[in-house]
Symmetry: C2
Subunit: 353 residues, 2 copies
Amino acid sequence: MFWEDALVKERVTVVDIARAAGVSKSTVSLVLQGSPLVNEVTRAKVNATIRELGYVYNRSAANLRQSKSKIIGIVVNDLTNSFFAELAVGVDAVVQSAGFVQFLANTNEKIERQREVVASMREHGVSGLIISPARGTEAADLAPLVDSGIPVVLVVRDIADAGVSSLTSDNHAGAMAAVRHLIARGHRRIAFLGGFPDTVVFEARMRGYRDALLEARLDAADVLVIGSAPSRAGGVTAIEQAMMLADRPTAALCFNDAVAFGVCDGLRARRLEPGADFAVIGFDDVIEAKTAVPALTTVSVDPQGMGQRAAELLLKQINAGRAEAESIIGSVRLVVRQSCGAAIERRTREALS
Amino acid sequence: MFWEDALVKERVTVVDIARAAGVSKSTVSLVLQGSPLVNEVTRAKVNATIRELGYVYNRSAANLRQSKSKIIGIVVNDLTNSFFAELAVGVDAVVQSAGFVQFLANTNEKIERQREVVASMREHGVSGLIISPARGTEAADLAPLVDSGIPVVLVVRDIADAGVSSLTSDNHAGAMAAVRHLIARGHRRIAFLGGFPDTVVFEARMRGYRDALLEARLDAADVLVIGSAPSRAGGVTAIEQAMMLADRPTAALCFNDAVAFGVCDGLRARRLEPGADFAVIGFDDVIEAKTAVPALTTVSVDPQGMGQRAAELLLKQINAGRAEAESIIGSVRLVVRQSCGAAIERRTREALS
DNA sequence: ATTCATAATTGGAACGTTCCAAATCAGTCA
DNA sequence: TGACTGATTTGGAACGTTCCAATTATGAAT
């Protein structure tokens, strides 16, 4: 074992570079920032010494001086859900290319946790924040952030009167499209399964479901909407409950894809084949939706693209200084695959003709 | 529209607090750090003014002064894979409780991207790094990090001679256990499906598979190991290829759960029921494994727990200054559920008796 | 030679903390 | 009273950048 003395030597700074390259620290700083003011040959010399001495830029110092950072924060309420994981990679992709790095925190729907992480991010001087707020978050919770002029963009769940930008999807229209499709396929008893009833997303999707039913003068019975955790496990319990009903549904729109997968699982547990014996439609279009069997018919909100757009919106606001809050409602489209039984029906129809 | 003048006023700092509370900035600093040196009444007074003026601590400044931060970095190669998402939430949970915040970056297996994010994290002065290295990462890629004394813990994939701590799982033993189980259930033609053959994880699991076969004097034909992307889609293609074989397998150990789900999908596409007509075993035990139908038999590595342990190991090293590199090989256990057909066999056996 | 413009470089004062050494305070004891 | 405690408090110099204003070098025009 050696004493590794080399490790103990102190950090190399711009003045070390300056001394070694025979210029002033100001010049080194200019080079670091890629300023066009410095002469090509000195720039080369400086860059050479930087490499040679193994200099690493100290962003803490820079942040302190300029009172701004190349950091953005992203806080989600459930990273375990593919939807949010994909959202995060979408964000990551664009912030990385912009030379930013992201703090990521998971709140697990705990509002206290959220308060802590947001405070911590503020102390670290994030330049902006993308947040999918935990259930029960109020405008007041975001106030300190927006008062201090930090751009915030809400994703997925909007908060009324928060005065910040938001990026949501057209949940109402998506749900309507899905239910209309089921009705067109001949279904008359359609359930709405999964999700926490006290969220604005649930509310919007459920309203879309109901409006489509009403439009077709169908029964929108309360027993047919069954809440649950918005997870695969929640889907299993929701479909079980639905199958207890005296007058069983023959199709369901699910709160999200995770629930839809759970519903398929629950169906199979009862020896029912999703897509053939029961139509199921999801919401989100997570990556597995395409490859699952049966492939999931779902309302595509493109989580990764949503993350990208959120990040772009945030960066725009950061660069613009203080920008107007804008609310974007992303459009959404029904992508018809196997799980709603459409393909099977087509096949039988073809066989008959 | 108002001109929101209030927003423009500059940041409040410790000297503002000091002035307002009638003490020196040193005292305020002491209070901030919870030092026992300060008198209770002044502490209270200071805390009051802090709240009153809406002070927010500037960690950039503190980091600069103390040349250390409360930031750790975590870089994963595919956040879209539930395994890594869960790993990340495990890490998040423990670092958050320790008052740290995490930079999270996704490399998408791009080694260039990885280089960039690691460099960026270094500039930001992370106190430690948890990394699941991208395919093809070499010890040399981590050298600058370890030379500068930043603790690093490798997760999932170890790198030979990197001189850093690592936390992997006993892939060889897990694979053996799984295959032994299949053999005990009467299977004789067992495939190994999915994964990139040039990774150490693949290598270890495949060796375990092979050793179990050899142990039982069974044929370990090369055609039965079929690589693919370690994803759901990869699983679909792998099983398709396996079913092309003249002498088809009746069971498969899959590289990971994502592949296993894909294999189930592919089986169903051919009207084969996983668990009844074909036994499949996964690897990882991601959260959906339990609720899927059929519930997935899999080798449990507890990704979230793994993230936690990795974070604990890292924090230990950070606190200890310079610690010995330790390699932990997490133990692993086969959790038998439905997809390997065990339950079904038991049922038929019971029916016969 | 002098002036002027332009290009390139530079010293030094910030930024908001922490931390050391030193100073002040309030008792206590001779 | 004065010296001696222990408990609190406090200036001021760092930390590694950036940025302003000012300086020097270079060359062209007079």
